[in-house]
Amino acid sequence: MIRGYPESMRKSIDKVNKTRDKRIDQIMKDLTLEEREKVLHEFHPDYNPAYKRDIGWGQNKGDNVPNEVADILESYPIYDPDEIDLSQIDYDVGVLIIGAGGAGTAAALWTVYSGVPKDKILLATKLRLGDCNTVMAQGGIQAADRPEDSPLIHYLDAMGGGHFKNKPELVKALVSDGPKIIKWHKELGLMYDQNEDGSFVENAGGGTSRNRMHCAKDYTGMEIFRNLKDEVINNEIPLLEFSPAVELLKDENGRVAGALLYNLETKEYSVVRAKTTILTTGGFGRLHIAGFATTNHYGATGDGIVMAYRAGAKLRDLDSTQFHPTGAAFPEQIVGLLITEKLRSLGAQVLGKNGEQICYPLEPRDVEAASIIKVTKSTDNYVETPTGMRGVWLDSPLIEEIRGKGTIDKNLAAMKRMFSRFDIDMTEDPILVHPTLHYQNGGVELDEHGYTSVPGLLGAGEISGGVHGKNRLMGNSLLEVNVFGRRAGISAAKEYKRGKKPGKLTLSHVKKAIEQIDTLNLKKKRFSPVILPEYRSEAVRDRLIQLFESSL
């Protein structure tokens, strides 16, 4: 190992380092819409029929989705509905929020701000407050607040990025609320980076035509979340941790009226009755769509889409999955982890093994990812690691060539720290990247106020579909969790004020779902929601046995 890299990779690094001066002003042309289509069809996993199949039952029957998504939808509940006593209510609240990530906490806060008494709110989450993808978001949050920018330009960028399949009202809501959200964040004391003249630091992102990416070094998501979390505690919002929802409950009128929670530690269930339920459970990265490694949080197992689907909510755009163009490909310990797009925003180029550029660095994410997969799959212009992982170079030292020494320390502290833990200095040497599973583009369909197609159920954040169409742009997800978390909170408060008490709780919708799943004649009986992914070694899993606990 020489400064973190094996000798075999060093040869290629030398070429990258030698060609840097020549490349500094060399601009690759971006692709036309037609060229984009071509590379996507040939190389993006979304377009590979082998990874997908049609959903077999329910309101989205026939929709073509990744096999892993079809698997969890075509699964039985992980409990026996007949064993649940719904007459015993453990928590009786006005607003139940399931999932305490970015969207859930924003929703909880705006529920309070909109006048719901705090003891009428319950924020339940699978792991800890803040175990979510929001804290991992590095690059930034979009908001069109500069004079040369406008919400209309932001709208156009987002629609184009999403291949014009986005739901227009949602995009309008997203871009119109952007500046408002930044204003709110500043009132909360967020430390967004500022230039010396007091203006915000705003960078470009893939597919944006203006600089509108606000950031807090490369800890943007964490800085947002730390503040929301602090406010949740200051506002004394009741919180249940290690208590994932395993099913939504309905009342006899077909309205969603709470949820069944499961205590991961004591293994008991509890019944929550709620006038309104907001689903903010996040995405599905830990399902490892198409076998890809992921940037996602441990708890991102797509539970929300399963529960919403069984409750009758319409899903959309789940055919498309976002693969982030740059996941770490070396060292092995961090394969798949996010290398923020901000590197490319700041000028890093994407290079083949001899140090020549292979694509325009700031294409929309799906196009950029497909362009990199093209190189590793159909050419020999990639770099192979000792464990056989293929990748291309991201020329991080170029950032300081362009913007001066210290830029990486100042703007990419998290990235630098991650690599330095493995003896790699990204200010001196490039880093190896390969696309990685990043984001659930589609999900539960919402309207612009956060309502799903089922009464009593709202949603916000990555669980939702429609905002990003078939592909999300960088910085629109941190914006989304705040915009739609806020909107869902406001809507839930309205429901709270007008709503009558929910009727008798029932799981009849689940029993109906079971009947439909029975008709699929599954070869192997599957159960969902997944709750946590399985990473124990096979040697261990082969020996697992079920003990009858009462005898212990």
Binding site: K172, L188, M191, N195, N203, N211, R226, N234
Partner: protein, 240 residues
């Protein structure tokens, strides 16, 4: 005390190391992080696991190495296993967070002392900084807070992921990472003032300045919208 190692795990022809998880010995592949090694050994993690990428602070882990008196601490998801590591996780840290209304307080030493009077007990031993997986100079930001240098405290504490290791090591029983949150929020709110352009834009949107534009864009067919998209101009993207 010698620890027994299972034969079954020994059989595998891998480059392995032996680690001791809460005292129990396991052979695991040497290329793994502590977190993946625990999973490999058979632990299905519920606590002590989170983002798996060094951002969430869930997997604080404390360890010693055989024959070395020093205490080490790091994130399980970001640290490679070493032969002879004796480790335990600290998945939860009991530490009180003060409650406050940011609107009603000012960035000053007296604010810091009001909510966290224990910072005055800091002995300057620096145990907190030594244990920080983010290499933050924790003691220094506690001292900056005491001195009322809130800006410096906030900036020094910026990379904190709130794992709580500092609070566990502190002989003065200070919850440093909560102190840091207060300092950052005071700094972000009262020193880093948003530019006027932000308020300006919020006002424009609220007054409906863009409604007509949206109406027009939303009425376009996909083909027309595509034309607009392709024709949009790009403004100097190299400047921040």
């Amino acid at each position: 005390m010698a620890k027994a190692i299972s034969m079954r795990e020994k059989k595998e022809e891998l480059d392995t190391v032996t680690i001791y998880i809460m005292g129990q010995g396991y052979k695991v592949p040497s290329s793994l992080t502590i977190m993946k090694a625990m999973e490999y050994a058979g632990f299905k993690l519920k606590r002590g696991v989170g983002c798996r990428a060094g951002f969430c602070g869930a997997c604080a882990t404390v360890y010693r190495k055989l024959g070395d008196y020093k205490i080490y601490a790091n994130l399980a998801c970001q640290t490679k296993v070493e032969d002879g590591m004796y480790l335990t996780q600290l998945p939860f840290v009991p530490a009180n967070k003060a409650e406050y209304n940011l609107d009603e307080i000012k960035p000053s030493a007296s604010t810091m002392l009001r909510f966290y009077p224990e910072i005055a007990r800091c002995l300057s031993c620096n145990a907190c900084s030594r244990v920080c997986p983010q290499d933050i100079q924790v003691m220094d930001y506690v001292q900056y807070s005491l001195q009322g240098q809130i800006d410096k405290a906030a900036e020094l504490a910026f990379d904190c992921i709130q794992c709580g290791l500092c609070a566990i090591r502190c002989p003065a029983e200070i919850p440093q990472y909560h102190v840091a949150t207060l300092a950052r929020r005071l700094h972000g709110r009262y020193h880093m003032i948003a530019p006027d352009t932000l308020e300006q834009r919020v006002k424009e949107i609220e007054e409906g300045k863009y409604e007509k534009g949206f109406e027009e864009l939303m009425s376009l067919s996909e083909e027309e919208l595509k034309k607009r998209y392709v024709a949009r101009d790009f403004i100097d993207q190299k400047k921040a």
